[in-house]
Amino acid sequence: MKQKNNFHFIFLLVIFTFTSILLFNLYFSQEKNLKPKLVYGLEKGGLIGNYLFNFKNWADDLLHFNNLRKQLSELKYENINFVNQLQNFNEIKKENSLLKNALEIKEETGWSVELAKIILTDPSGLTGSFWINKGTNTGLKDGMNVILGDKVLVGRLIECFNSYCRGESIFSPETKISVEDLRSSTLAIAEKDIKGNFRLRLVPYESDIQIGDILVTSSENANFFKGLLVAKVKKFSPSSDISSVKEFILEPLLNFSQISSVLIVIDIIPNE
């Protein structure tokens, strides 16, 4: 009887091991097939999902009402400053066009871009991945930069299938962006701290970076090309360990609640 039980146990163990190996093999070999099919399926269910997402945004706004009111008053103040700056820039613009005409300088052509829609993002909140509804069929490739209409950097494409591509936003782990201060031309590295905030690290103490300065990608980046808007300097951080350098906390210019559509720069692939 005992021998029979042992035989049963070994028999079940063999079946279990065999099935497990088959299943693991099946799961790990079907990555390329499963991913686009699942995204296709989820995109079809996206209509109801968008309502859910909008409801979430609405609830979030309601919970942060005071913060929004504060932001609105700050924006009004900032807007007045920009209007004043625009007056000055208009004069410079006229002067520039006169000089261009006189020197016969040709206008630089912009990048070629492809419009795509963000259809899904990472539900675990740990990777900052997103999926767009365009793929290699429309000429998209891994490594292409993803931006917004106003040249705000969103991220870059990581893997492309026929009709879909997966991208990683600037919030994804290990993202380090070499940035340049538009006002003072100081170079620094923007990276994440332990709480996931963007920080401007290793800034020389004598550098002239001020709160409110705009940072753009510099030419030192391996994955992003130059001149894309990244963040605004929010506040000075006294937590630097080394006394000869200072740190700043940044406010990313990318606002996810407003980006349903993105642009993919198709004619330049950094590091290619």
Partner: protein, 154 residues
């Protein structure tokens, strides 16, 4: 009997749908893992084969949408719920406090595995977010268990 499975599967799809679209974030932020909580409750009331099927479906979705290596979520879910299955061999499956211990252990092992994965991937700064997710999920599980227990005891 079939109605029970049908209802559970529909609920599972609904929960996944909420997890995918309501949890849509580009910023790294703590998200409540309701899919994991649903799988824990399924472990207590449904057979293992059916639970494995649900784990398989959840893993495909999480592996596709998260940028982690393919199979990471599958293995983590198998480890954590597998540990849960082992625990139910020693603890009473239908008792409230055993369910609480088993469920919390599964949540703990799940986030511990994620924590270790991120240490291996050298992205330790998101461990703080993982810790926040662990707290949110385990508190929500506690709350649901108490609620469920109240309803059942009435």
């Amino acid at each position: 009997m079939l109605n029970r499975y049908f209802f559970n599967f529909l609920s599972f799809l609904f929960i996944l749908f909420i997890q995918i679209y309501f949890g849509m974030v580009l910023f790294l932020s703590p998200v409540l893992n309701i899919a994991l909580i649903f799988l824990i409750f399924t472990l207590f009331y449904f057979p293992l084969l059916y639970l494995f099927f649900l784990i398989f479906l959840s893993a495909i979705i999480f592996d596709t949408l998260s940028g982690l290596f393919w199979g990471t979520n599958f293995i983590i879910l198998l480890i954590s719920l597998g540990a849960g299955v082992l625990l139910t061999r020693f603890l009473e499956k239908s008792h409230f406090f055993s369910q609480l211990i088993v469920g919390e252990s599964i949540i703990f092992i799940y986030y511990l595995c994620l924590f270790i994965t991120n240490l291996v991937l050298k992205t330790p700064y998101i461990n703080f977010i993982i810790f926040q997710q662990f707290l949110i999920t385990s508190i929500f599980y506690l709350f649901l268990s108490f609620l469920f227990n109240k309803i059942v005891s009435k």
